[in-house]
Amino acid sequence: MIALTVNGKKHEIQAEPEMPLLWALRDLLGMTGTKYGCGKGLCGSCTVLMDNEPIRACSMPLAAVADKNITTIEGLSTDGGHPVQQAWLQFSVPQCGYCQAGQIMSAVALLRKNPKPDDEAIDAAMSGNLCRCGTYTRIRKAIHHAAEQGGAK
C-alpha cells in the first residue's frame, strides 16, 4: 500500500513502488488529465506538481512521491477558473490540446516562483514541454497575461 495525496485527497494505492506516478494516476485513479507523450522525461506532457515543484510523472516512481502533495490539472480548479487556465482560453492556446495539461502545470509552477517572468524566463521554464501542434507563441502570450492577472495563485 502506498499513500498518496492527489489534489488534496488521500489515496491508498495497491501497486508496486516502481510504478511511475503517471500510470497510477491514469490507470488506478482514473485521472486521465495527465498525459503520456514519451515516458522518458523528454516531452513534459505528464507534468504535475509535487509540493509545488514541476515533475515528470512518467519518470517518478510511486515510492518517491509517497506522502507528498501532488497537484494535477484536475486539481488546479474545479471550473477552469485558475488565471492560467483563463489565459489559455482567452488566447485560444490549445490546438489538439494533448500537451496542454503539461504546459499549464509548468506555467503554474513558473508563476509561483516568478510572478512576472520575462520571455527568457518563460522560455527557460517551458522548454521541457513539447508541442507538436506549435502553440508556443500563444503560450508565451498567455503566460504574460496570466502574470498580469495574478496567475501566481
Binding site: 508496486e16 500510470w23 486521465t32 490540446g97 500537451c99 495539461a101 522548454s127
Partner: protein, 741 residues
C-alpha cells in the same frame, strides 16, 4: 498519370467510398403530429425544447473543426449558438466522406453544410407560414425564431418542430443560401474553442484516455522490420509480471501492408505499467524477411542512379534539350530531404469491445469509415453487417496523416475478438516512431538554364519511395509524388518535370502536406539560387518567375494534374493570388528594411491544397549557430470560415515545418528504424521560436485548404534566409546534421 491523394485513396478497397446522401430524405413521413424532435438531414436534429443538436462528422485534431462545422450550420439555419449541442458523429457512410485528411473538411463540405442549415431554416419558415396561414415570404427566420411580417408574432424554433417534422424536405435547388455578408458567426474573429474548457481542465477525452468497463491494456511487440515474422518466442518471464494476464500472437503481415496489422506479440495486462514491463520481458526471435537488407544511407546510391536518366515524365512544355543547348549559363543543384515520422503528441490508441452482434470501437482516428472497414476486414465481418461495427471518434492528440491509417484499430478489434475481453491497445512513443507510415526520404536534381539574363529552362527530377507501394508493392513511382513539383507556377519557356523509380522497404504514407514538403523545399530553394545567380533581389525575381496574371492550365500541357480532387474551374492555379500573398508577406516583414549584420531574410511562396501561402523568415547566424529571429506568413485560403483557427494552423504549420527542417530524420539500418523517441527524433522547443505573424489575405474565392498549405514554403524560406545571412546554401535536410542548430 499521377493520381491525386484523394483519387488515390478512393481506389483502395476501403476508404472514402461514401457518397453525399441524406439531404433528400423526407423530414419524416411517419412523424406523429406531436413529434418532439426532427432530423431533416444527417447533420441536424431540432428538439421541441429548442435545443439544436449538430453532428460534426470530421475528426478534431487541433484544426478546430468541431467549432467550425457546427457554427457554419448554426449560422446558416439562424440558430442561437447558445442553444446548440455538438455531437461527434460515428463512422457512417451516410455522412459521405469522413476522412479528415488532405485539408478538405471545409473545402469539400462548405456548400453541403450550408445546404443542411438552409434545409432546416426553410422548413421552419414553411412551418411558421402554415401556422399563421401566410405565404413563406411573410416569415423571417432570425436568431432561433420565426418572425411574422406584421412585426408582432414570433414563434421559437422549438414550437415549430411538430409542424416542420411533417413537411417534405425541400430539394437542394429550392434552398436559398445565406450570403456571406449576413453571417453572424462564420468568418468572425472571436470564437471560443468548443473543447477549450475541457482541455484546460483535463476533462477532454482522447483515444489514449478511453475507459470502458472491464477494459484491459495491450501493448504489442511488433516486428522491427516490415513483413518480418515471429520465429519463436518465450513469454514465461512476461507472464510472471504482476498484472499481466495473457500473451497473444498477432497474425503476421503479408504484402501489401495497407492498413493491416503489423503482427508481433501482444501483452494483455490489467494496467499500462504491467503491459510495459511484460513486453520488455518477452524473448522473441524474429525472422526479418527481405526488407532487412534496407539501409537508408546506402540506398542513396540507388536514388542517385534513379535520377541519372529518369523516364517518368510528369509535365513538360517547350523543349528542355533545346534550352540546355542554347543556354548562356546554367545552374545545377541536388537536394535531399530525410524521411519523417508524424510524432503526434498523442501516440496511437484504440479500444474495442465485443457487443452482442459485433464490435464497438473508440479511437483517435482521422477516418472512422476506414477504421470500420478495417475492423470488418480483420474480423471478416460482411458488408451487410457494417452497422454492427460502431466506431466512436475521440479527440485526437494530433493527426498529421498518421491517424488516417487505422492499423492500430484493427489490432484492438483483433485482440478483443481473440481474448474475449475489452481491449485498449496503446502505442508508446517508441512504437509510434519505429512503426510509422513515413514521409519518404527523397533525392532531387534541379537545373536551370539562362538566356539574356532570364530563366529559359526549368528541370526538376525527384525520386522517393512512393506512397503507392504501401498498397501495391509493385508501385515504384507516382502516388502523389508530383505535389508541388509538377504544378510549379513558373513562367518559363522550357520545362521538364520527371520522377525516378525505386523500390520500397518500409510503410510510406502521407504526412502533413505530403511531397510538397520535399518538392517545395527544393523548388523554392532553387528559385532563390537562380535569383542569386542572376544577382537579382529574391522577391523581384520570384515575381518575375511567376510572371503575368493568369490561370495556369496544366491539362492543356497534357499533364493530368490532380488539383487536390478539385476542378480547375473552381480552384484554378491563379498567379495573381500567388503574387498577392508574396507581396503581402514581404510588406509585412518589411522586406526592404536593412537588417543588422549577420542577419538574413528568406522568402518563398507556394500553392497547395488550393490555397496560397507566402513566407518570410529572418534568421541570424553567429558562431555558425542558427537563430530564427522572426517568422511571417500570409495565406489566401479563399473565404476564411474560422479566422482564428486559420491563424493557429499557420502558426502550427510553421513550427511543424521548422521542427522537420531542423531535426526531422528517420533512417533505417538492416530494415529497422534507428530513431525511437524525442532524444533522437527531436521537435523544436519554445526557446527556438520567436514571434510569428500571420496574415489572412481577404478573398472571396471558395474556401481552400488550411491545415497543410502553411508547411511547404517554410523550410525553403528558412534556408534562403540562412543563405542571405551567411552565404552558405543548405540543400540537405535536416539542418542538425551540419552542427548549426
Amino acid at each position: 498519370m499521377t493520381l491525386s491523394r484523394r483519387a488515390f485513396i478512393q481506389r483502395l478497397s476501403f476508404g472514402s467510398a461514401g457518397l453525399t446522401i441524406g439531404l433528400q430524405l423526407q423530414a419524416s413521413s411517419f412523424a406523429p403530429a406531436d413529434a418532439t424532435e426532427f432530423t431533416p438531414d444527417v447533420f441536424v436534429t431540432l428538439e421541441a425544447s429548442g435545443t439544436v443538436r449538430i453532428r460534426c462528422h470530421r475528426s478534431e485534431m487541433g484544426q478546430g473543426i468541431r467549432s467550425t462545422i457546427p457554427r457554419l450550420i448554426a449560422d446558416e439555419m439562424e440558430a442561437d449558438w447558445n442553444k446548440v449541442v455538438v455531437e461527434q458523429a460515428l463512422g457512417d457512410a451516410k455522412y459521405g466522406d469522413q476522412n479528415t485528411d488532405g485539408s478538405r473538411s471545409i473545402r469539400k463540405n462548405y456548400d453541403r453544410l450550408k445546404r443542411a442549415g438552409a434545409t432546416v431554416r426553410t422548413l421552419l419558415q414553411q412551418a411558421a407560414a402554415d401556422t399563421w396561414q401566410v405565404a413563406p415570404d411573410q416569415v423571417r427566420i432570425h436568431n432561433h425564431a420565426a418572425h411574422h411580417a406584421d412585426g408582432k408574432k414570433t414563434l421559437g424554433f422549438g414550437a415549430l418542430v411538430a409542424k416542420a417534422a411533417n413537411l417534405p424536405v425541400p430539394a437542394a435547388d429550392q434552398l436559398t443560401l445565406k450570403p456571406e455578408k449576413d453571417y453572424r458567426y462564420v468568418m468572425k474573429k472571436e470564437w471560443e474553442l468548443l473543447d477549450g474548457l475541457d482541455i484546460v481542465t483535463g476533462k477532454a477525452e482522447y483515444g489514449y484516455d478511453v475507459a470502458v468497463k472491464d477494459m484491459k491494456i495491450a501493448l504489442i511487440a511488433r516486428p522491427p522490420v516490415v513483413f518480418g515474422k515471429v520465429k519463436s518466442f518465450d513469454a514465461s518471464e512476461t507472464l510472471k509480471v504482476p498484472g499481466v494476464l495473457e500473451v497473444v500472437e498477432m497474425p503476421a503481415l503479408s504484402p501489401p501492408a495497407a492498413f493491416k496489422m503489423l503482427g508481433g506479440i501482444a501483452v494483455v495486462a490489467e494496467h499500462t505499467w504491467a503491459a510495459i514491463q511484460g513486453r520488455e520481458k518477452l524473448k522473441i526471435e524474429w525472422e526479418d524477411g527481405p526488407n532487412a537488407k534496407y539501409d537508408t544511407v546506402a540506398h542513396q546510391a540507388e536514388f542517385e542512379k534513379a535520377l541519372e536518366d529518369p523516364k517518368h515524365v510528369v509535365r513538360q512544355h517547350g523543349n528542355w534539350q533545346e534550352a540546355e543547348s542554347q543556354a548562356e549559363s546554367r545552374l545545377d543543384a541536388a537536394y535531399k530531404v530525410a524521411g519523417l515520422a508524424h510524432a503526434t503528441m498523442e501516440p496511437l490508441a484504440a479500444t474495442a469491445r465485443l457487443t452482442d452482434d459485433g464490435v464497438e470501437v473508440w479511437a483517435c482516428t482521422q477516418t472512422p469509415q476506414a477504421a470500420q472497414a478495417n475492423v470488418m476486414q480483420t474480423l471478416e465481418i460482411p458488408q451487410e453487417k457494417a452497422n454492427s461495427v460502431k466506431v466512436h471518434v475521440t479527440l485526437l492528440g494530433g493527426g498529421f496523416g498518421r491517424k488516417s491509417k487505422p492499423d492500430y484499430v484493427a489490432e484492438a478489434a483483433f485482440l478483443a475478438h481473440k481474448t474475449k475481453r475489452t481491449i485498449k491497445v496503446l502505442w508508446t512513443r517508441e512504437d509510434e516512431i519505429q512503426h510509422g507510415y513515413y514521409h519518404s526520404p527523397s533525392y532531387q536534381k534541379l537545373a536551370a538554364t539562362f538566356q539574356k539574363g532570364k530563366l529559359s529552362g526549368w528541370y526538376h527530377a525527384m525520386v522517393n519511395h512512393p506512397i503507392g507501394a504501401t498498397f501495391n508493392p509493385a508501385a515504384r513511382v507516382g502516388g502523389s509524388a508530383d505535389l508541388g513539383q509538377g504544378d510549379a507556377p513558373y513562367d518559363v519557356p522550357h520545362m521538364r518535370i520527371v520522377n525516378g523509380e525505386t523500390d520500397t522497404f518500409m510503410r510510406i504514407g502521407w504526412l502533413r502536406s505530403v511531397t510538397n514538403i520535399n518538392n517545395a523545399f527544393a523548388a523554392s530553394s532553387f528559385a532563390d539560387e537562380c535569383a542569386a545567380h542572376l544577382k537579382k533581389d529574391p522577391l523581384a525575381f520570384l515575381l518575375e518567375l511567376i510572371g503575368p496574371d493568369r490561370h495556369i492550365d496544366l491539362q492543356a500541357e497534357g499533364y493530368g494534374y490532380g488539383n487536390y480532387g478539385e476542378t480547375t474551374e473552381r480552384f484554378p492555379i491563379d498567379t495573381a493570388r500567388l503574387k498577392q500573398v508574396l507581396n503581402t508577406v514581404a510588406k509585412q516583414a518589411e522586406w526592404t528594411r536593412k537588417r543588422p549584420k549577420g542577419h538574413g531574410l528568406g522568402i518563398a511562396v507556394h500553392r497547395s491544397f488550393c490555397s496560397y501561402v507566402g513566407a518570410v523568415i529572418e534568421v541570424s547566424m553567429a558562431d555558425n549557430k542558427l537563430k530564427i529571429e522572426d517568422i511571417h506568413l500570409a495565406i489566401d485560403c479563399g473565404l476564411a470560415i474560422n479566422p482564428d483557427r486559420v491563424h493557429s494552423q499557420l502558426e502550427g504549420a510553421a513550427m511543424f515545418a521548422i521542427s522537420n527542417a531542423l531535426y526531422g530524420q528517420i533512417t533505417a539500418e538492416k530494415g529497422r528504424v534507428v530513431q525511437s523517441n524525442f532524444h533522437d527524433f527531436p521537435l523544436a522547443r519554445i526557446n527556438q521560436f520567436p514571434s510569428i505573424r500571420t496574415t489572412i489575405v481577404s478573398s472571396d474565392g471558395p474556401p481552400g485548404g488550411v491545415g497543410e498549405p502553411g508547411v511547404p514554403p517554410v523550410a525553403p524560406a528558412l534556408c534562403n534566409a540562412i543563405f542571405a545571412a551567411s552565404g552558405k546554401r543548405y540543400r540537405d535536410l535536416p539542418l542538425s546534421q551540419f552542427g548549426i542548430v
